[in-house]
Amino acid sequence: MITIVSGLPRSGTSLMMQMLGAGGMTLLTDFERKADEDNPRGYCEWEPAKLLPKQPGRIDEAEGKAVKVISQLLMSIPPGRDYKVIFVERPLPEVLASQDEMLRRRGTADSVSHDVMTRAFKKHLSEVATWLEKRTDVPICRVGYRRVLNDPVSISEEVRSFLGIELDVSAMVREVDPSLYRNRRP
């Protein structure tokens, strides 16, 4: 089984990967992207995921593990494998605010308006949903980011039940640190 954690950038995919790792799953990561202020506990990314459109077979390296594949790349996963996808959903205004904050920390400004970004993201999420409907071989568990923070026990149990493997729910719950809710205002 290949466990894929997916979602928009800044939607909480790193947190879900950390929870799965704490719960006992082996993560496919390369630590190339280091932890920083935007993600103090690290990104848990796997650089070769970016090659999936051209080298879809690379996904086989994730057999028996969990790997983060951002939503834009999800549609590149090839058929013929046993997948389970955990899709993290976060309200778009929060995603955009989080992106703004990240860009601000890096000293770059986003020239694209929130309006345009919102429309683009909504269209993209709709395309991913349509694709997932047709991929009847890809079970998906949608997880709300806020629910992860507010009710990590239920979410951890849902994920464990969905994956059908033994996971340490208490350890998963301990990974959730609400103080990392990044785009709060004082």
């Binding site: 309200p91 919102t118 999420l125 409907e133 009847t136 079970p139 949608r142 809710y181 785009n183 709060r184």
Partner: protein, 715 residues
């Protein structure tokens, strides 16, 4: 051939008119619109005459005839590719919109519903959990797709525009042609208008069709525009009228017109004298003067004949009507210049001829025999039904509740309209049932919903809408309604065998609507919504609301929205922690809100959409769903975004029962001739259950769980 020669004749007439017009028409002909051309405000017009519709229908019939053997073989081949064990050969789903399980049980126990009683005794009768919120477009969308609203994108009849805060129809979007040609004052559409369905997810009959299982689907809500699949479908709730609205009636009158109708209708003056009267039917916007607000009109004449009758003439139609009588469906043509026209059908009801003359006219429906908009799949299906049974209502909300609410129609006139439409629906359904020997036959009847909305007042002794009506004068409308539906079920069971699964379901139940709750008034009085300086109330649709100081607002039937920065155009609440804290605060304050007059809870549940929905369209959901208590609902003003000074008020309108309340209070019904094992079934489970019973796999994205159904005589 008649259609082809007719088309050529029209072409020659246009050719003689003017060379420039020939060029324009040639351009238009290059965009064969079939019946997808739309007549409606701001959306263009039927570019081609109905010759194209009939011509294409003729070609399609030829195609269907010659390719039938190949398509039949393909269907047989596809069936063999199905996996799983097929448990049933045929399923019939009868949807009674709004049938209430408590009322059904009461009437069954009183011996008034013998056929439903038999299903209860030998098969199944359970409550069917509905959706959040329990509104028909939401629930039926979940029924057909097997997913929660976060995946099908329908949360209410209306959505809100994040820039203007104004409402739009949530189920379909109609846009005018992209290209136009301006010649002087004329604006000529050069292309097809588009109708886009906003409901996502795949109806389960699409999967069945792909597997070679034929499906007949009639008037299921939120099936407009109709999607292509291997079966036949007639669109239901949300099909617009010819004006592009959800139903605009017309009251033509010689009386002085004082004020507008609050909702759903227009006054039109009747001019003339005893020798003869004349008036008009308002139609769609003139496409050649798009944007100017000019509407097309169809003129008609009225000549009184005696004390009780009049003769009405329009175009080539002429008919007599007695006072208190409806006409049949009358074809109406709205002519613009340059050969453009739109066609519809409507019914006249003569209210009065002396001392004043008054005529009620139904909304102008799309003509099913020559539809200017797609209302069925294939396009010929609506035409077939019209040829077989005559014209019928195509409007999604065909029963004119607004006209009764505004007291333009009385109780009996409204009921006559409802049951006339219901009889048409029965004819279509039984025709489909006869022709669907195996596969799926599904039909939704709306009469149960409309009649309960308008006549619930007679069920309660002290309903504000019927105070002063003595018990013995209260008609048994609702009991009679359930009895008629029971008779229909009896006819169905006579026509099916034991190998056919019958499901009788409703999308939600019903409760009294005696007290309205203006949530915008509450938000204003509690500091969450601000008005411009000097204002104590607002107009409709948030006129005079000061968005720069407004943190929350409500619109539609159950949704409460935060005014979020980066989402709403003038949002002030930061997303994330601030929004969460505000939601919690509103949740605490609103849950259990008490009506000071009655001492009862006006709101019995407040539901956070983050925990309620999951899917790619959760960003379009309200922030909180308000669950009104038994007897309560959003007030008429609140639904239309109006802030008044009163939070709680009596509802005195004829629309006196409702279901847009706490979903836990209004489950629907589930009857079946089979035993269904699920203890707590939900409407979201119907789709996966159908797929499983027909031997198909259940797609991974579906939220519902298939029921265990006791095997009948299968295959």
């Amino acid at each position: 051939m008649k259609f082809v020669s007719g088309y050529c004749s029209a072409w020659r007439r246009f050719s003689k008119a003017a060379p420039i017009f020939v060029f324009i028409v040639a351009l238009i002909v290059l965009f064969p619109a079939r019946s997808e051309a739309y007549a409606g405000p701001g959306a263009g017009f039927a570019v081609l005459s109905s010759f194209w519709t009939l011509f294409v229908a003729f070609l399609y019939s030829l195609y269907a005839f010659f390719t039938w053997p190949f398509r039949h073989l393909l269907r047989l081949f596809r069936r063999r590719k199905k996996f799983g064990k097929q448990q049933i050969k045929r399923a019939v789903i009868v949807g009674f919109d709004g049938m209430d399980p408590e009322l059904a049980e009461r009437f069954i126990n009183e011996g008034k519903l013998p056929n439903l009683a038999k299903l209860r005794e030998h098969g199944t009768f359970k409550k069917l959990r509905t959706t959040f919120p329990p509104i028909s477009p939401v629930a039926w969308s979940t029924f057909m797709t097997g997913v929660n609203p976060g995946k099908h994108n329908i949360y209410d009849f209306l959505g809100r525009d994040l820039n203007s805060y104004l409402p739009f129809l949530s189920s379909a979007e109609i846009r005018g042609p992209k290209r136009i040609l301006k010649i002087g004052r004329y604006v000529i559409p050069l292309g097809k208008p588009t109708v886009k369905g906003m409901r996502h997810g795949t109806p389960f009959w699409h999967w069945l069709g792909k597997a070679g299982i034929f499906c007949s689907v009639i008037r299921v809500p939120v099936t407009f525009p109709p999607e292509k699949f291997d079966g036949v479908l007639l669109s239901g709730m949300c099909v617009p009228d010819l004006k592009g609205s959800q139903g605009t009636f017309c009251l033509c009158t010689t009386r002085k017109i004082g004020g507008k109708f609050r909702e759903g209708g227009v006054h039109v003056p009747i001019a003339g004298n005893g020798a003869g009267w004349h008036s008009y039917i308002p139609g769609p916007e003139d496409p050649l003067q798009s944007g100017s607000g000019a509407e097309l009109r169809a003129e008609f004449k009225i000549k009184t004949e005696g004390e009780n009758q009049a003769r009405i003439s329009l175009d080539s139609e002429s008919f007599n009507l007695k006072v208190g009588e409806y006409s049949g469906w009358i074809p109406v043509k709205f002519k613009a210049g340059l050969g453009f026209s739109a066609r519809g059908i409507c019914r006249f009801y003569l209210k009065e001829i002396s001392p004043e003359v008054e005529v009620y006219i139904t909304p102008v429906n799309i003509d099913p025999g020559r539809p200017d908009l797609p209302i069925s799949h294939p396009v010929t299906y609506s035409i077939y039904l019209a040829k077989l049974f005559g014209p019928y209502a195509t409007l999604g909300l065909a029963e004119d509740t607004w006209a009764l609410n505004e007291r333009v129609l009385d109780d009996q006139a409204f009921l006559d309209q409802c049951y006339s439409n219901h009889e048409d629906r029965e004819r279509m359904f039984f025709d489909a049932l006869e022709k669907t020997r195996d596969g799926l036959c599904a039909c939704v009847f709306d009469t149960t919903d409309r009649v309960q909305h308008m006549f619930w007042r007679y069920l309660e002794e002290d309903h504000p809408a019927a105070r002063g009506v003595p018990k013995e004068q209260r008609p048994n409308v609702i009991e009679d309604l359930y009895s008629r539906m029971d008779t229909l079920i009896g006819r169905v069971t006579e026509q099916i065998d034991d190998a056919t699964l019958l499901l009788v379901i409703s999308d939600h139940g019903f409760k009294s609507f005696a007290r309205g709750v203006n949530l915008n008034a509450w938000l204003h009085q509690n500091g969450y919504l601000a008005l411009r300086p000097g204002k104590t109330e607002s107009g409709d649709w948030f006129e005079d609301v000061d968005w720069s100081r407004t943190r929350a607002y409500t619109m539609g039937l159950n949704g409460l929205y935060l005014n979020i920065k980066g989402r709403e155009r003038e949002g002030v609440v930061s997303p994330g922690a601030e929004a969460e804290a505000l939601k919690d605060e509103l949740h605490r304050k609103l849950d259990g809100l008490v009506d000071p007059d009655s001492g009862r809870a006006g709101i019995t549940g407040v539901f956070d959409c983050d925990s309620t929905y999951a899917g790619p369209y959760v960003d379009n959901a309200p922030d909180l769903i308000i669950g009104y208590g038994d007897g309560f609902r959003a007030s008429w003003d609140s639904v239309m975004g109006k802030v008044t000074g009163q939070i709680f008020e009596d509802n005195v309108k004829a629309w006196s029962g409702d279901h847009c309340v706490d979903p836990r209070l209004v489950p629907g019904v589930l009857f079946s001739n089979y035993k269904i094992g699920e203890e707590n079934p939900a409407i979201v489970d119907v789709a996966p259950t159908m797929l499983k019973l027909f031997g198909l796999g259940i797609p991974a994205h579906i939220d519902g769980k298939p029921w265990t159904v006791a095997a009948g005589a299968a295959q």
